[in-house]
Amino acid sequence: MTVSPKIEPLPRTKAYSPFAGLTMKQRDNVFVWMLVLPAYIVLMLVVFGPILNGIIISFTQNTLRTRENPTWNSFANYIELVESGDLLGYITVTFVFVGLVVGIQFLLGMGIALLIGNDLPGKNLLRGLFMLPWTIPSIVVAFIFLLMLQPEYGVINYTLGSLGIMDARTQWLQNPQLALPAVIMASVWRQFPIMLIMFVAGLQTIPHDTVEAAKIDGAGPVAIFRHITLPFLRSIILINVLLAIIRNFQMFTIIYSMTSGGPLGRTTTLSLATHFEAFRSFDWGKGAAIGVVWLGILVVITLFFNWLQRRDPMA
C-alpha cells in the first residue's frame, strides 16, 4: 500500500494590496473613480481644454492681422467692450430674451400640462400634437416665422390686419420694438413642448391619494396646485427652468436666421455678439472675452440653481 505524502498547507501570507487599510466604502469609491477617470480625462481635454484656451485668448490681441503672433493685452478687450457700452447692451438683450422665453414657455408648459395631464379624452393625441414643434429643426422654424412675419405677404399680418387688430403691413423683424418679441415668439413655439412633456411626466408622479385626501378636506384646485402640485414638482421645475435658461443663453440659430441680430442690435444676444466679433470682425480676442462673460453668467446661474435644489424640502 502506497502512502501519499502529507501535503502541508502553504503558510498563510498576507498579500500586498494598495487598498489595504481602506474601509469597504472607501474601496468602492476608489473603484468608481477608476471607472470614471478615463471619461473624465476625455472630458477635461475636449471641454475644459478649449474653455481654458478661450479664456487665454480673451486676454490677447488676436485678430486677422495678429493671429500668427497674438500679444497679451490683459483686460483691454473687456475694458473696450464695457466702455463702448456694447457689453451691457448684449447682456440686457440676452436677459430680456431668456427671461421672457423661459417665463412664457414655463407658463404655457405648466398650463397645458395641467389640462392634458388629467384624464382628458384624446390626451395622448394632444400630447403628440404638442410635441410637433420640438421635432422641427430650429432653422426651419426660423424660416417658417420669417415667412409668416413678412410685412407684405405674411399670414400673421394678413390675419391681424383682417381682424383690424393692427396695420396689415406692420414691420416685425425690422421694427426695433417688435423684432425681439418676434424672435421670442418663434423660440417659445419651438421649445415649450420640452417644458410641457417634463411637467406632464412630473404630474404623473403625484400620488393620487394625496390629491383625493385634499379634495375630501375641501381643498380647491388652486390650493391643491399650490400646496401639493408645486412642492411635488419643485425638483422638476428647477431642472427644467435651469436647462431652459442654459438653452436660451445659447440660442443662436433662430435669432441669427430671423434678424441677424438686428435691427440696430436690438436682438444681438451674447451668442450672436461672440459670433460677430470672431467671424465677422475677425477679432477673436474680443469674441472670446464676450464668451468668458457669458460663461461666467451661466456658472453663477447654475450655482444658484444648485443651491436652490439642495434646499428642496422634498429631497
Binding site: 493671429r67 410685412p151 407684405e152 421694427n175 435691427p263 465677422r280 470682425s281
Partner: protein, 410 residues
C-alpha cells in the same frame, strides 16, 4: 484640400469651394462646367464643396486658418481683402494663364501690393429693372433718363395705391437689411448726391452734405411709402417679381430669378426693361456699381498649376458659355469670352446694356481693405437708424464717419 498623395495613375482631385453649387438656379450649370473640364482634362477631378453664400466667407476662413483650405475658392469681391490679409491666397502673377485676354483694368482691380490675389470670373452690374406696365398705368411710356425723372415716376407709381391683388404698389425699392450688401447698395445714392466713401488719398469722407442729402432722400422714400419699409433684398426681388415695385436695383443675373419668382413665369420678362441707374442729366455717367465674383487659389494647395488650368477654363469662352446656358446672364471678363454666341442672340440684346458698362461708367466697390465689409454693415445700420428709428441724418452720418474711421484705423 486635394489629396497630396496620389497613386501614379489616379487623377488629381481639386477641391473647389463655391456657393453656386448650393443654389438651385446655378447648380446644374456648375455640374456641366465641371463635367466639361474633366472631359478636357482626364487627369483632374473637381470636388465641388458648395456652401450657402452667407456662410461662404466664414467657411473659407475657418478652413484656411484651420489648415485645410480648398485648392480653388469662389469669393465675392468684398471677401478678397480679408482673405489676402489672412495670408491664405497664392499670388497669381505667374500662375494665371492668358492674362492678355482679360479686359483692361480687370486684373489690376484684384491686385493688392503688386500681388494678383484673385481672378474675376464673372462681372456683375447693379442696374435698374423698370416695370413698364406700372409706369404705363402711371402715365409714362418710357424709362427715366435722369435721376429726377426716376424719382418723379416712382412717386407717381406709388400713388397708384394697391394692385389687383390688394397689395400695395411701390415706386422704388430700398433694402433696409443689416447685411453688407444692403450697405453697398446705398453707395449710388451717396455718389449721386455728391458724397463719397473714400477720398483719393484713402481717407474716409462719409460725413458730408452729399451723404446727408442721400440719407434724407432715402428717409423720404420710406416715409412717403415710395419704398417698402423694413424689407431685405430678397423681399424686394419677390415684390418686383409680383409686379408691385416700379424700379428695383439688382444685378443682371436676376432675370432668371424673377422668372422663377413671378406668377407669370418667363412671360414676366416682357413686363420690364433693364437700364443703368440714371445719372443727373441724360447721357451722363451713371452711378451703377460694378461687382465681381472672383476665383482664388490657396497658398497651401499642392496643385496650383492644375488650379490655374481650372480657372482658365471657367473664365474662358467654354466656361462662360456653359454658365450662361440657362440664361444666367453672366458677363465676360475676357475678350474671347465676350465673343461667344450667347451674347449675339437677339433675345439677349439687353445684355448690351451691361456690356456697355464694363468699360464704361460703372464704379467698382472700394473693397481693397478687409474693413470694407464691416464698413458696409455700419452703413446699413446707419440707414436703419434713419429709416426705421427716425433719427436725424446729420447725427447718424457723424457717428458713421467716426465708426468707419476707427474700423479702417485698426
Amino acid at each position: 484640400m486635394g489629396s497630396a498623395v496620389q497613386a501614379q495613375d489616379e487623377p488629381i482631385v481639386l477641391d473647389f469651394a463655391n456657393w453656386i453649387g448650393a443654389e438651385e438656379s446655378t447648380s446644374d450649370d456648375l455640374a456641366a462646367m465641371i463635367a466639361a473640364f474633366e472631359t478636357a482634362h482626364p487627369n483632374i477631378r473637381i470636388n465641388s464643396q458648395p456652401t450657402p453664400f452667407n456662410q461662404s466667407l466664414e467657411t473659407l476662413l475657418i478652413q484656411s486658418l484651420g489648415g485645410d483650405p480648398p485648392d480653388v475658392g469662389m469669393a465675392h469681391i468684398t471677401w478678397v481683402a480679408p482673405l489676402a490679409e489672412a495670408g491664405v491666397l497664392a499670388p497669381l502673377n505667374e500662375l494665371l494663364l492668358n492674362q492678355e485676354d482679360y479686359l483692361p483694368g480687370i486684373l489690376e482691380s484684384q491686385t493688392i501690393a503688386d500681388s494678383l490675389v484673385a481672378v474675376p470670373w464673372a462681372s456683375s452690374r447693379v442696374v435698374m429693372y423698370a416695370n413698364m406696365e406700372l409706369l404705363a398705368q402711371a402715365g409714362y411710356d418710357s424709362v427715366p433718363e435722369t435721376w429726377a425723372e426716376m424719382l418723379e415716376m416712382a412717386y407717381a407709381v406709388k400713388d397708384l395705391g394697391t394692385g389687383e391683388d390688394g397689395g400695395q404698389i411701390y415706386g422704388l425699392g430700398v433694402s433696409s437689411g443689416q447685411v453688407p450688401g444692403a450697405g453697398y447698395f446705398l453707395l449710388p445714392y451717396i455718389w449721386h448726391y455728391g458724397g463719397e466713401f473714400q477720398s483719393e488719398e484713402g481717407n474716409i469722407v462719409l460725413d458730408s452734405e452729399g451723404t446727408i442729402a442721400a440719407f434724407d432722400q432715402i428717409k423720404a422714400l420710406f416715409e412717403d411709402s415710395v419704398s417698402p419699409s423694413g424689407v431685405e433684398i430678397r423681399d424686394l426681388r419677390e415684390l418686383f417679381a409680383q409686379g408691385r415695385i416700379a424700379f428695383h436695383w439688382d444685378i443682371e443675373a436676376m432675370v432668371a430669378t424673377f422668372a422663377s419668382l413671378s406668377p407669370r413665369a418667363e412671360e414676366f420678362r416682357n413686363a420690364y426693361e433693364i437700364l443703368l441707374i440714371p445719372g443727373e442729366m441724360p447721357q451722363t455717367p451713371t452711378d451703377t456699381i460694378s461687382i465681381f465674383h472672383t476665383l482664388t487659389i490657396y497658398e497651401e494647395s499642392p496643385y496650383q498649376e492644375e488650379a490655374a488650368l481650372f480657372i482658365d477654363f471657367l473664365t474662358g469662352p467654354e466656361g462662360i458659355a456653359i454658365y450662361n446656358a440657362n440664361g444666367g446672364n453672366k458677363l465676360p471678363v475676357r475678350s474671347s469670352s465676350g465673343e461667344i454666341e450667347f451674347y449675339a442672340q437677339p433675345e439677349n440684346a439687353f445684355l448690351d446694356v451691361f456690356i456697355q458698362a464694363i468699360e464704361g461708367p460703372a464704379r467698382s466697390l472700394p473693397a481693397q481693405s478687409s474693413a470694407f465689409l464691416d464698413a458696409m454693415l455700419a452703413l446699413a445700420t446707419a440707414n436703419q437708424r434713419v429709416a426705421l428709428n427716425g433719427e436725424e441724418s446729420a447725427t447718424v452720418i457723424a457717428d458713421l464717419q467716426e465708426e468707419v474711421q476707427s474700423l479702417y484705423a485698426e
